[in-house]
């Protein structure tokens, strides 16, 4: 294109979410309105696509296809978990020059920000002009600087709905199934697990106990918590992070995983959920039912938060605007306005502040006992899932 300064490449990285295609759509639609941007290339499977010179031409896709992608979960370009090393730098530079790529927007989390940072540095070292503005995305919500990460609110909405509905199921089962555990994504950060608490509308509602990696709780304490809760109300619904810990750095059940326990002579370690189910059955003599929705947490479009989809789109657009305006590097951030009401403005953080760093749930977001999020967390998270859930009701508990 005449007048264009160079071409743009956009890629998706890490775990897909229901919102990452909204960001992709934001990048494409904004790019189309800038004369300095020539071709719009989609990196197929992220940085791997760049290394292999595998791009698709996003400018040639009809507007309605791009709009359709916005309503489609998962990563339309394909994603990657590849970590670039200095051995790749020469090849990367070769492809950047071959395709005259001057703008790169990599949509992802901390690892992807590391990739962006490396791209920026190798280009800078080679004297090759390259704008690298990353777009945040992760259901883990563990990126620094930004108020929250696109992808998180929708996964949080899934978790909220799941615990609310499976909680009603447990309530109806009475003594036929009084204990339930929902295992929730998040190996190192408990943001998603904490969101389970958004499901509670009335005293006694699920979840009753919430455990996550940042706040270790001893096995004895966990059993005691569940026992007390069970004796008090006859049922317990537990939201448990897949990375919940019994001591700092020590995931529940790590020591207990037997060796060679699977059918084929492999060491097979159950997750935290499986361990806690076995633990509680052993100590309390009660079967615990478990839901482990796993990848459904990040992929079920029907649970998407409208706030999330909109913000994901905005950060995508903003990344292109910043690059077109001359910024050389950074990641777009969400900056929560003081209120009243919920609104986020957009900002930019240096890639150095994001790459390979993790934002854990702050201490004040969990109660002293380490078994439930605080009101401070709920105030933070409530607006993100996009308004109240459809109302449910209960019959009176008064007997004739």
């Amino acid at each position: 294109m005449s007048g264009a300064k160079g071409n743009l490449a956009v890629g998706q990285s890490g775990g897909p979410t229901v919102a990452i295609n909204s960001s992709l759509c934001g990048v494409i639609q904004e790019a189309r309105s800038h004369d300095e941007i020539g071709e719009i290339y989609g990196m197929v499977h992220g940085i791997e696509g760049l290394l292999k010179d595998r791009f698709i031409d996003l400018r040639r896709h009809p507007v309605e296809v791009i709009e359709g992608v916005r309503k489609t979960p998962s990563a339309a370009l394909g994603t990657a978990r590849y970590k670039v090393t200095p051995d790749d730098y020469e090849r990367i530079l070769e492809v950047l020059k071959l395709r005259n790529i001057r703008y790169i927007h990599y949509i992802g989390g901390n690892d992807s920000a590391d990739t962006s940072l490396r791209l920026r540095k190798l280009a800078s070292d080679a004297g090759y002009e390259l704008h690298v503005i990353a777009v945040p995305k992760t259901v883990d919500n563990d990126l620094c600087v930004t108020d929250h990460c696109p992808g998180y609110p929708s996964a949080a909405r899934f978790v909220t709905m799941a615990i609310r509905d499976t909680g009603r199921d447990t309530e109806a089962m009475g003594h036929y199934g009084p204990l339930k555990l929902l295992e929730i994504m998040g190996r190192n950060a408990g943001w998603l697990t904490a969101a389970a608490a958004l499901a509670r509308e009335e005293e006694g509602d699920a979840p009753h106990l919430v455990y996550l990696p940042e706040r270790p709780v001893s096995i004895e304490q966990l059993v005691e918590d569940v026992k007390n809760c069970y004796e008090e109300r006859g049922r317990v619904v537990i939201a448990m992070s897949e990375g919940a810990q019994e001591a700092p750095g020590k995931t529940f059940g790590e020591d207990y995983a037997p060796v060679d326990m699977d059918a084929f002579g492999h060491r097979m370690k159950g997750g935290v959920g499986e361990f806690v189910v076995a633990l509680l059955r052993d100590r309390l003599g009660i079967k615990v039912r478990m839901d482990k929705p796993n990848y459904l947490q990040r992929s079920m479009m029907i649970c998407a938060s409208p706030v999330d989809l909109e913000e994901a789109y905005r950060v995508g657009r903003e990344a292109v605007r910043e690059a077109a305006a001359g910024r050389m590097e950074g990641m777009i951030t969400l900056v929560r306005d003081p209120g009243p009401g919920y609104h986020c403005s957009l900002g930019v953080a240096a890639l150095e502040e994001i790459a390979n760093k993790e934002k854990k749930l702050p201490a004040e977001f969990m109660n002293e006992a380490g078994n439930y999020p605080t009101e401070a967390f709920l105030s933070y998270a409530r607006p993100l899932i996009g308004g109240p859930l459809p109302p449910y009701t209960r019959l009176s508990k008064q007997f004739v």
Copy 2:
């Protein structure tokens, strides 16, 4: 109430669903319009509530609460899995007389139909006039006579959405996560697992393989199927019933469950899903990711089929109409009209035809290889989930 012939008791039984409260609401709303029906009692936790004389007064609940219950998942009255025995008959008759209950509507599956049948017989033997018209409900869809069971279409819609969305997730992951297994409810009947196939819209879409109890497949065949599919397209999404079999009557992995494998010296048997994950890793050397949504399949209201909610409401109303019109026993059935278009009329089956019987997926609903439902099944199931899912799209796969 003057002029009333007697009171009505309604109960919910077995596993909750998102539609069972619609049936409850149908029973209540219809009962309110019949002069011969006096009080409307809700049995708290099904037959247990009757045995314990624990009822709530549903006539005294405001109309908007009953309407609210209709939009609430799970069983608002509480459910039960109690099997009545002759030892209970005297007590049951005592409570029926005490409360002057002349109409019983028990909402549930085959076991609940057995309870209804026993109630009917004990009343008949005692010369106590009692109308027992059961209301069908089960996500397993395994009741005889009826075209399908309320509760099934919504769970089927959940499964369809889940496999479609987790399938997109798998597609985006490429070689970072090419194998996925969704474990689906149904120990003896594969109706719910088969519904996964409704997710496929284009050639190559998930699911790629579907296994269920009615159609055993040897371990060698399963491995071969997955291997072939993986070699062909680089990814495989498997829908697997929790009761899938390797030989008639033999669930996958039954023989392989090691003894004393859990942390506490208990025999702990993983489910079919865990076994197949270990099997495929062993034989193909590839990690298989698993989603096990378990109780979410029957409880997530956001996935409810509108067709299901409406039909569940209709069968509830019809049960009361039949009883008020003088019918002494039976279960309401859905009778599919010949078409064109989808519509069900209502019928009644004798309780004997339903109680303790199971309707398995017929042979013609699975392909010859036993690894995918046929078009005949899809035609049967497609209208139930309530219209097409929100459209998704894909980018072109043509490289620049």
